[in-house]
């Protein structure tokens, strides 16, 4: 596309009242694009003003210096074949100005902010290219579902119902998973009073009868290579060991040792991870539904599991109940008590409370005359509508429930005694029962195994699951399906201990996400959180030095590498955060509308007075997800903003390349600040690792500055939540005051 530029300045919303319009226009012209002004660009007349130039002059690259790019998107959308760049003169300048001066004169410092933002917008437009979406040579719309329990069966059924071919892989010889062992299911409909007969056989029959679904039992995934739209999957007989098993993670340092023969290669005998199996099956996306395993409860010595006969887990009791009559006197222990205080057994969620209620029902059902079920709980956990079932069970004859701490289970004759303290009946009790059932939790298969068996540079498993007790959790309250492996969506017991009702929704949602990922790959656009983004990282390989930083730092494992360490990009795994771009010391990774050169040129377009100690300059790189909206909001509140800073939006702090900091310092700016999301265990970074990585990089560059005789404190990072809008002015002032105290950059003017 031959770019034809047009720049437009809106003087509405106070912009024209506090800034010198001609000065702004001069700044645009100086930077290379002539600018016209209008009193209200977003109105019908304003848009017509721009559209006239598009029609008559063929303008296709438009600079709009007006309000924040976060508003008026539709008004300033001139079609897919047009580039529109926004300069934020309203929220970042005019609305931070305070009252206009009485004599109508323009504040120097404010005007310089305005002209810098105009220059940056013009530069950005000059450096932006129209994206060409990444298209795969061929794409598979088939979905792989791993696990044939309720979650997997549901995901397969629902995806097929939407028209997608599915292969369902189950390790066991038969489908059905844990539900096969159920005698009854929880109620699923109002008034939630009656247990229901299991419908697992019906679900299995539906899946087996669906022509769009291929079922493979006694089968498991050896490895998954490739990327969304083109996952290359090797299946194998369950339990088999093959050369296509997923290779263990080997870091760059470990690989060096292996090459020197100093340590054994853990992947000896395995096919290299980058090799695609010519016999492999191709899938577009994966649903992981490998479920859970019953928790081991033998560590609670006072409860006697493993030592006393007739102390069983809830899962074992369900089998007994399925196969025959259960004993007449049964205690259901919901919390281990002892030093665990009033917590449930680990990995319980609220499911085990419902299980106890269901199983208590078996006791009185099988023993109509003398059945006695004791549910000993710390907190009955029957949230939502499950409360109705709990309520109903409270009036069930033969079912006794109390808050209680169980201190000891012991053998007594043919039966057991259960010592109980702190209960609702007032005194310590000893219950005589035939059986004790412990509410063992549901441990996700992801806690101990790789499960997804990826053949990825960053290893075969999801990363950092220890933050979530081993659950394949996203950590994002608002976006439960996002994992750190694009195209792989989890549901059921790997996510959390869920009831069947929850599992069905969960699995249906996971199927949608798999479908959505395939359709996005097919359109050549990104998935969450930059959904619809047509850009992707482009590598200029001839200058790559195989430093492997991009490969190691990508939060989503998008990059593999070859023998030499040259990255092998997988654009459909990529979320477009730009962490690779920020990592690259050779600056060879760029996007069509976001590049090292673009941001560097924007930084250099900021005018730095080299002879005025009052006019120091601080470049502030702002994460566009949370910090940038917070600055907008600060402007909406008409908070003043320090006039020495210049905001430069970035996709994620992870994308900030340290060359931009050097650009800022070498062009005479006096400091550089990064504003991004909170990191750590409760990270809020939308790309998981971006702000953490950026902080590390900034510490390093601080050291570099130190070696040049500059204060390391000239470079800083601050964590900003989107709700911090009224705190931002003080955070920035504080940083700028530190810089002012240090004095101007001594290299200014060189």
């Amino acid at each position: 596309m031959k770019k034809v530029y047009g720049a437009y300045l809106c003087t509405g919303c106070g912009i024209g009242n506090v800034l010198d319009v001609d000065g702004l226009k001069d700044a645009a012209a100086d930077a290379g694009i002539a600018m016209q002004d209008h009193g209200c660009l977003c109105g019908a007349d304003g848009r017509a003003f721009i559209e006239k130039d598009i029609a008559e002059k063929g303008v296709n690259t438009i600079v709009v210096c007006a309000c924040s790019p976060r508003v008026m998107q539709q008004e300033f959308n001139f079609g897919e074949q047009t580039i529109t760049v926004r300069g934020n003169l309203r929220e970042h300048v005019a609305w931070t100005a305070g009252e206009p001066k009485e004599d109508g004169s323009v504040d120097d410092f404010l005007q310089e902010m305005g002209t810098d933002y105009v220059r940056m917008a013009v530069t950005r437009a000059q450096k932006t290219e129209l994206p060409v979406p990444y298209t795969m040579e061929s794409i598979s719309k088939k979905i792989l579902v791993m696990g044939g329990g309720i979650a997997g069966l549901t995901a397969a059924k629902e995806a097929a119902k939407a028209g997608y071919a599915v292969t369902l892989v189950e390790k066991d010889a038969q489908l059905g998973g844990k539900a096969l062992g159920w005698r009854k299911m929880f109620p699923t409909a109002y008034p939630y009073s009656e247990l229901e007969s299991p419908n697992i056989q019906q679900l299995i029959a539906e899946v087996q009868g669906d022509s769009k679904i291929t079922v493979k039992t006694a089968c498991e995934v050896a490895r998954i290579g490739g990327a969304p739209g083109q996952f290359n999957v090797t299946l194998k007989a369950a339990g088999a060991v093959t050369e296509w098993d997923a290779p263990a993670k080997v870091t760059a340092d470990q690989q060096d040792l292996i090459n020197k023969g100093e340590v054994d290669d853990p992947n000896k005998g395995l096919q290299k991870y980058t090799l695609l199996n010519p016999e492999g099956e191709i899938f577009g996306a994966v649903v992981l539904a490998t479920g859970w395993k019953p928790a081991d409860v033998s560590q609670y010595e006072h409860l006697g599991y493993g030592k006393l006969t007739n102390v069983v887990t809830n899962a074992e009791f369900e089998k007994l109940a399925k196969n025959g009559k259960v004993p007449a006197r049964v205690a259901f222990v919901q919390s281990p008590g002892g030093k665990e205080n009033d917590k449930d057994f680990p990995y319980c969620n609220s499911v085990t409370s419902m299980v106890a209620l269901k199983q208590a029902n078996y006791v009185v059902e099988d023993n109509p005359v003398d059945g006695k079920a004791y549910i000993l709980y710390q907190h009955m956990r029957t949230p939502g509508n499950t409360e109705l079932f709990y309520k109903g069970m409270q009036s069930q004859d033969g079912v006794f429930m109390t808050k209680a701490a169980v201190t000891k289970v012991a053998a007594a004759g043919n039966g057991l005694t259960v010592d109980v303290e702190d209960n609702l009946l007032g005194e310590n009790l000893q219950l005589e029962v035939d059986m004790v059932v412990l509410a063992a939790g549901m441990v996700p298969t992801t806690a101990a195994e790789n499960v997804i068996n990826l053949a990825y540079r960053q290893g075969p498993a999801f990363l950092d699951l220890d933050l979530f007790d081993g659950y394949a959790d996203s950590h994002f309250i608002c976006f439960p399906y996002e994992t750190r492996r694009t195209g792989i969506y989890t549901c059921g017991g790997v996510r959390k201990a869920e009831t069947m009702e929850e599992t069905i929704d969960d699995a249906t949602g996971a199927a949608l996400k798999a479908i959505q990922c395939i359709e996005s790959a097919n359109r050549g656009v990104a998935v969450h959180p930059r959904s619809g983004d047509q850009t992707y990282p482009d590598f200029f390989f001839s200058r790559c030095t195989q430093c492997k930083r991009c490969t190691e730092e990508c939060p989503f494992g998008a990059l593999d590498d070859d023998e030499k360490g040259t990255p092998l990009p997988n654009p459909t795994r990529c979320r477009r955060c730009g962490t690779c771009m920020g990592a690259c010391p050779e600056r060879i990774i760029n996007f069509a509308d976001y590049s090292i050169d673009m941001i560097g040129s924007m930084v250099k377009s900021i005018e730095v007075p080299d002879d005025d100690e009052e006019k120091l300059r601080v470049a502030v790189f702002v994460c566009e997800n949370d910090a940038y909206p917070a600055i907008d909001m600060s402007g909406m509140h008409r908070n003043k903003i320090n006039r020495l800073v210049r905001f430069i939006p970035v996709r994620c702090l992870g994308s900030v390349n340290m060359v931009w900091i050097k650009d800022a310092m070498s062009s005479g700016m006096d400091g550089a600040l990064l504003l991004g999301c909170k990191y750590g265990d409760d990270y809020q970074c939308h790309f998981v690792k971006g702000s953490e990585i950026a902080t590390r990089r900034m510490e390093n560059i601080g050291e570099t500055l130190g070696s040049l005789g500059l204060e390391p404190e000239r470079c800083g990072v601050r964590e900003i939540a989107i709700s911090d809008y009224d705190k931002i002015p003080a955070i920035i002032d504080e940083f700028v005051e530190e810089i002012v105290a240090m004095g101007p950059n001594p290299f200014k003017g060189f």
């Binding site: 106070g14 205080n341 309250i477 608002c478 959390k496 949608l512 959904s531 619809g532 997800n625 989107i722």
Partner: protein, 417 residues
């Protein structure tokens, strides 16, 4: 996209976190989606929350991404101040009559705020549950999407209206705006109509109206929020006293056959979150939590654990029988300790009722042919072309709402195919 979209168009009713999720997930597959919301802004209940548990992160962060996704997606059309009037047809070919109430501010609005500057009349601030007033020309809240003012015309004098109209440089004030009805043709409908806080006045023994020292948990969210009526300072409404003691009354209306039969799922965690709000402002305040069960299952146990160890927080298993207003502005909470049997009279400066979730759709749903259960929750009925999502379906947290909303999106897409 026109109002008569292609096959497979989905109507999503309710633009809170569940509706936003369902709409976006369907649209990002490629379906046309109409998202309607009865309020003047999207975001629903979560927009009113200060923080999410257990991460204690601001809900506006997730809303911002969702709004960005909407702005970037031409498959979604959004309508605020809009409600469903009638539905005809069936799965695959619904015809839905909708009505948009007048906003009195048109799309020329730039959110410059000049109208609010000159507006002299005030209305009760509904976003803050009536704690404080707002100008009758107002932006519902900072993060409001769409970023457009609203005019409560009926609350304004003629002089005020003239001033508001004259102040707008962009001809956005349209005082003769009329309700607008229109018809959409869609294949399926997702009900994500959410919840209302249960009316505390109905729980007569808690004497909600007897003292300003009795507030609800949602009011607590607004008190703790930086953009709330007290700019984030937790003080007692009325006299702005800094409370030295707090009581939390759990299950206020929930798990009670006279009120809400169900457990409202989030109130225990919300209370623990509120304890964290209090602790950040009043490290030594005494806190008393009256509960039946502490329902913080699964990973939420870690969150509870942090606060169970707090020396100045006492947990009393027992249902509150009475709350008595005291002369000093505080209240005495009366309960029986279920474990010791002792009667508890606890005097506190501020009492928070953990009021539950009442499904918001109400009787109107039945009139529209929606299948609802005995408690007013919407039953997903794919065979009727209607799905439910989030708290319209059952009382759940945000995380689970995300799951059921994404599920509803797939069920809706299936109908169009």
């Amino acid at each position: 996209m026109s109002d008569t979209a292609g096959n497979g168009a989905v109507l999503v009713v309710g633009g809170g976190i569940s509706g936003l999720t369902a709409a976006l997930e369907a649209a990002e597959v490629g379906n046309d989606v109409f998202l309607i919301e009865k309020n003047s802004y999207f975001g629903g209940r979560v927009a009113q929350l200060n923080q999410y548990f257990p991460k204690l992160c601001p809900p506006t962060c997730g809303l911002e991404i969702n709004f960005k996704r909407i702005k970037d997606n031409r498959k979604i059309r959004t309508y605020t101040l809009t409600t469903v009037k009638s539905i005809s047809g069936g799965p695959g070919n619904f015809e839905v009559q909708l009505e948009t109430a007048p906003r009195y501010i048109n799309s020329n609005c730039t959110a410059c705020g000049d109208c609010a500057q000159v507006c002299t009349d005030e209305i009760e601030d509904a976003f803050n549950f009536g704690m404080g007033k707002t100008k009758a020309a107002y932006l519902p809240h900072e993060m409001a999407f769409p970023r457009r003012y609203v005019l409560a015309k009926e609350a304004c004098s003629a002089a005020c209206l003239d001033a508001v109209k004259a102040a707008c440089k962009y001809n956005a004030v349209e005082l003769d705006m009329q309700p607008k009805t229109f018809t959409l043709k869609v294949s399926s409908i997702i009900w994500s109509t959410g919840w209302n806080p249960y009316d505390a006045n109905k729980i007569t023994n808690l004497n909600y109206n007897s003292s300003q020292a009795i507030i609800t948990n949602m009011m607590m969210e607004r008190l703790a929020a930086d953009n709330g009526p007290t700019r984030g300072k937790i003080v007692r409404p009325g006299d702005n006293k800094e409370p030295a003691s707090f009581a939390f009354v759990q299950c206020a209306g929930s798990r009670d056959e006279n009120h809400l039969q169900h457990c409202s799922y989030i109130c225990c965690m919300a209370t623990f979150k509120h304890i964290s709000y209090i602790r950040s402002q009043y490290p030594d305040a005494k806190i008393y939590v009256f509960y039946i069960d502490l329902r913080t299952p699964g990973k939420y146990e870690h969150f509870r654990e942090k606060f169970m160890a707090d020396a100045n927080t006492t947990f009393i298993k027992g249902k509150v029988a009475d709350i008595v207003a005291e002369r000093d502005g505080g209240v005495t909470v009366v309960a029986e300790n279920a474990i010791t049997g002792a009667k508890v009279h606890q005097k506190v400066d501020l009492c928070v009722l953990a009021t539950g979730m009442e499904p918001a759709l109400g009787e109107q749903g039945k009139a529209l042919g929606v299948t609802m259960d005995g408690n007013g929750f919407v039953v997903s009925s794919p065979e009727k072309g209607m799905m439910s999502a989030g708290c319209a379906k059952s009382a759940v947290d945000v995380y689970s709402s995300g799951q059921s909303s994404t599920a509803a999106a797939l069920k809706a897409i299936q109908i169009g195919r």
